[in-house]
Amino acid sequence: MLNEDRELIANIKQEDTKELAFQELVKKYQERLYWHIRKIVMNHEDTDDILQNTFIKVWKNIDSFREESSLFTWLYRIATNESITFLNSKKRKHMLPLTDVSDYLMDNLTSDPYFEGDRIQMELQKAILLLPEKQRIVFNLKYFEEMKYEDMAQVLDTSVGALKASYHHAVKKVEAYLKNVE
């Protein structure tokens, strides 16, 4: 873990510096976590809710953070779990099978007023949306954020080997989709 993060956590765990240090943590990680969540749920409003829930969970559980993993993988893990919980609640609400929320996300993508990409970028986002949930998260973390497999293994609680296989399958599927639309 970075020394800077270690100090931040130590300050959050102390009553007199808690609030200020927590604000610092929010400022430092809000953007990275926002984009991570946004790529999972595709919609700004939902992302905003989930990001707030993520930081509230961090605030409530920071004392139980054992510092065995780095702060940023712990934050990513909470954000990922919150996003998946959100998607599962959407599936339950719309009586969808637990594996299928792609229609809801596709609607979010195509009607998103904050999407500024061109047609090719839209096609890439559509191709990513058609991936199974876990592959989609792996693809986004590796392709866009270039996260190391070792860190990703901590975030997703999966082995490095499984993640590499998952990314490989995801790349093949996205490539096949892009080849078809060209």
Binding site: K27, W35, I56, W59, Y114, E175
Partner: protein, 148 residues
């Protein structure tokens, strides 16, 4: 992935730029909005408020029933019972009118005569009765009135 060009040439041609954006000043304001929410989480709703919140759906349901009663059941019930009562009163009034008109058609003298006639205890002999019956009642009528 080093060999992305080989296994996914179309994907590797893609721009890695983020195609999404956020509302203006979103990240500047986020911390303050989060702080507000954290403050509200720190001060949970008092017990009284919680009870009201728990009772709210039930109160809503009770209010809905009361409204339905007021709007449907009560006017219907009131309207129907008024109508039934009106009909009964009308019937009683008709019977009363008929009885009164009958009584009015009888003058006082005839009325007392009728009363006196009921008190007549005149006795008739068997022969008188037989001759009265044979004159005014047929054999068929007597047969109908008999038990056989």
């Amino acid at each position: 992935m080093e060999d992305l060009n080989k296994i996914a040439p179309n994907l590797s041609k893609q721009k890695k730029e983020n195609p999404y954006r956020v509302p203006d000043n979103y990240f500047d304001d986020f911390s303050a909005r989060l702080q507000t929410r954290l403050e509200s989480e720190k001060h949970p709703i008092p017990e009284k408020g919680k009870v009201i919140r728990l009772l709210k759906p039930m109160l809503g349901l009770a209010a809905s029933f009361a409204l339905i009663f007021m709007l449907v059941y009560w006017p219907l019930d009131k309207f129907l019972s008024d109508n039934v009562a009106e009909n009964i009163t009308e019937e009683i009034n008709t019977v009363d009118d008929h009885y009164l008109s009958m009584m009015e058609s009888i003058d006082e003298e005839s009325f007392y005569d009728l009363l006196e006639q009921q008190e007549i205890t005149e006795e008739y002999s068997d022969d008188e009765l037989i001759s009265y019956l044979s004159a005014s009642v047929s054999d068929y009528d007597i047969y109908l009135e008999s038990d056989y």
